[in-house]
């Protein structure tokens, strides 16, 4: 009997070491926004800066941010950049481009339904371009596999936002992504460094489920029109200290604004008791 037990244990140990994970990330994937839904899908009141390691420059930008600036002709069709677009509700397709001579993967390609963006993730070890070439919304990406994790590094990204609440991103952003698949779930990690607006890397992770029926209404035509009658060259903004809506989120959810606007220190466990103190009596 002892022999049987020993054998069972040994066999179990072997089984435990023999499972193989998925590595094929191609297919069509749809967002599951089970984290930060209100920010990522419909958008909430102005002023959700929680969890972002923003610096003082980003705070000043956010204080000046007037959401109606996006109504300007040249802004209204500006897509989310690659460091932001995965946060929204999205379906995207991944497929491979293979070298016919070797069947090795030259690149992964992505078509992102939101804003109809295309990406190429080069797998052939090519260098990133020099600084003087144009930056794009999707940037320039190179990838490499580490076991079952596809790690992608993207540079040459156009400036945009980390949040629609006015947390800016700069054109010096570097995005590192990790694609991880388990069954029909694709986890997508974003580690964002931005020396202009962040004090430390900004960490995001999103989940996508594989779509059984894909390719539905994936086109996005945005037409520039004068949405709201205004001087074409007017730039909506608030002078420092004059933004009447910046604390709306803090007020709506009973949070101290200094915590909502606090940046990196508020993202670590040590901040929890401080926050409780700040919230006492609210």
């Amino acid at each position: 009997m002892r022999a049987l037990v020993l054998c069972g244990a040994l066999t179990a140990a072997l089984a435990a070491t023999s499972a193989h994970a998925q590595i094929d990330i191609t297919g069509e994937w749809a967002t599951k926004a089970h984290e930060d839904f209100d920010d990522r899908v419909p958008g909430d009141v102005q002023g959700d800066f929680t969890g972002v390691p923003m610096n003082d420059a980003a705070r000043r930008f956010a204080e000046s941010w007037d959401v109606t600036r996006v109504n300007l002709l040249e802004h209204q069709c500006q897509p989310y950049n690659v460091a932001h677009i995965f946060r929204g509700p999205m379906q995207f397709r991944i497929w491979t481009e293979k070298d016919p001579a070797t069947q090795s993967i030259i690149s992964y390609r992505e078509y992102l339904g939101t804003y109809q963006q295309f990406r190429t993730i080069w797998m052939d070890n090519r260098p990133h371009p020099p600084d003087y070439v144009p930056h794009t919304n999707m940037g320039f990406s190179t990838g490499e596999w580490h076991g079952d994790i596809l790690t992608v590094t993207t540079t040459h990204i156009k400036k945009e936002f980390y949040r629609r609440s006015g947390i800016p991103s700069s054109d010096r952003t570097t995005l590192v992504e990790h694609y991880i698949r388990h069954g029909n779930l694709l986890s997508h990690v974003m580690i964002i460094t931005d020396p202009v607006y962040l004090t430390e890397p900004y960490l995001n992770s999103e989940e996508f489920v594989q779509m059984e029926r894909g390719n539905q209404n994936w086109l996005y035509n945005c037409e520039y029109v004068m949405e709201v009658p205004m001087d074409k060259n007017r730039v909506p903004y608030y002078l420092p200290g004059m933004n009447p809506f910046i604390q709306d989120y803090a007020k709506k959810f009973g949070l101290p604004f200094e915590a909502v606007f606090g940046g990196a220190p508020t993202t670590y466990p040590e901040y929890e008791p401080k926050l409780e103190q700040l919230m006492k009596g609210r």
Partner: protein, 306 residues
């Protein structure tokens, strides 16, 4: 009887031999498999999860760092029963009933701001201590380990390593990128079916799959959003490739299926950053800070299906 015992022994030895043969075959047949076959989950761990890890709360901040108001169910695929039950949450009643740890059970603990201390308690058991709520989880690799009769906050966790195909005899050709070296001439230059040599990086790493059962009902979030004893909880612990600045990150993907309160699988992924030591390790008792006064109206569920 003795004859039976003999038969039993013979069967046991035969199956053991078969298992060992299969194991040896797996371990040595593939050039890119680890040189020495893992003798135990600890010795053969494809990734090192041990050490101190701190949660970086950059997502769901108001639900994790703060205690959201009752009625704030943002992002959750709750069904009507889940909403009704969450609507009955009463922190004072929980405290009076000595149920402070309900928000620190296996279904919600990973989302609490805190630190993990991961160690091997033996060759087959990975121990994860949480300073938030001073909780301990034991991740059991050995099939001989069985849950006790009593349900606990952390339940019983069955663990299994998952390895990339290259580490265990997957495709040896170049279809998965990371190509190095010259193109093999004639499509067979290296005795392969063509294609460049694979990068060793393809054999790196792996993940830890954990399925937990036998747990007490608890809260998904501090503000009383429930999960039931019959929920299915599956986790994947992923150590991410080291960042260029030297940071090391751990991602924990959690999938909770609970028809009692949820109308679809509930997915979260939680990021931790490695710390050099336990200098900031700060065990605290199970305790939930009171939410702001009032009840939060959560907007209509919107695109999430009802």
């Amino acid at each position: 009887m003795s004859a039976h015992r003999n038969i039993g022994r013979r069967l046991a030895l035969a199956s053991c031999a078969a298992a060992l043969t299969a194991f040896a075959g797996q371990a040595f047949a593939q050039p890119r498999a680890p040189a020495s076959a893992p003798a135990s989950p600890k010795a053969g761990a494809p990734i090192d999860l041990t050490g101190y890890w701190v949660a970086v709360v950059s997502e769901d901040w108001r639900h994790r760092m703060a205690t959201a108001r009752k009625g704030d169910y943002e992002s959750l695929p709750l069904n009507a029963n889940g909403r009704r039950t969450a609507g009955d949450w009463n922190l004072d009643a929980d405290n009076a009933a000595n149920m402070q740890c309900k928000a620190f059970g296996v279904g919600g603990l990973i989302r609490q701001p805190g630190r993990l201390h991961v160690t091997w308690s033996d060759d087959d058991t990975l121990r994860v201590d949480f300073d938030a709520g001073t909780q301990t989880r034991l991740l059991e690799f050995a099939s001989t380990a069985q849950p006790s009769g009593e349900k606990t906050w952390q339940g019983f966790s069955r663990a299994q390593w998952q390895r990339p195909p290259q580490a265990g005899g997957g495709p040896q050709r170049a279809q998965i990128g990371n190509n190095t070296g010259p193109i093999a001439p004639g499509g067979g230059g290296r005795g392969q079916r063509g294609g460049p040599e694979l990068s060793p990086a393809l054999a790196e790493g792996g993940s830890l799959k954990v399925v937990t059962t036998n747990f007490r009902a608890g809260y998904l979030r501090k503000n009383g959003v429930p999960y039931s004893e019959s929920a299915s909880i599956t986790e994947y612990f992923q150590r991410l490739p080291d960042a260029a600045n030297g940071d090391v990150y751990l991602l924990v993907i959690t999938i909770i299926e609970d028809p009692t309160y949820l109308n679809e699988p509930f997915y979260t992924s939680t990021m931790f950053k490695r710390e050099a030591n336990g200098a900031k390790w700060n065990p605290t008792p199970c305790r939930t800070a009171p939410p702001p006064a009032g009840t939060q109206q959560t907007r209509a569920p919107e695109p999430l299906p009802r």
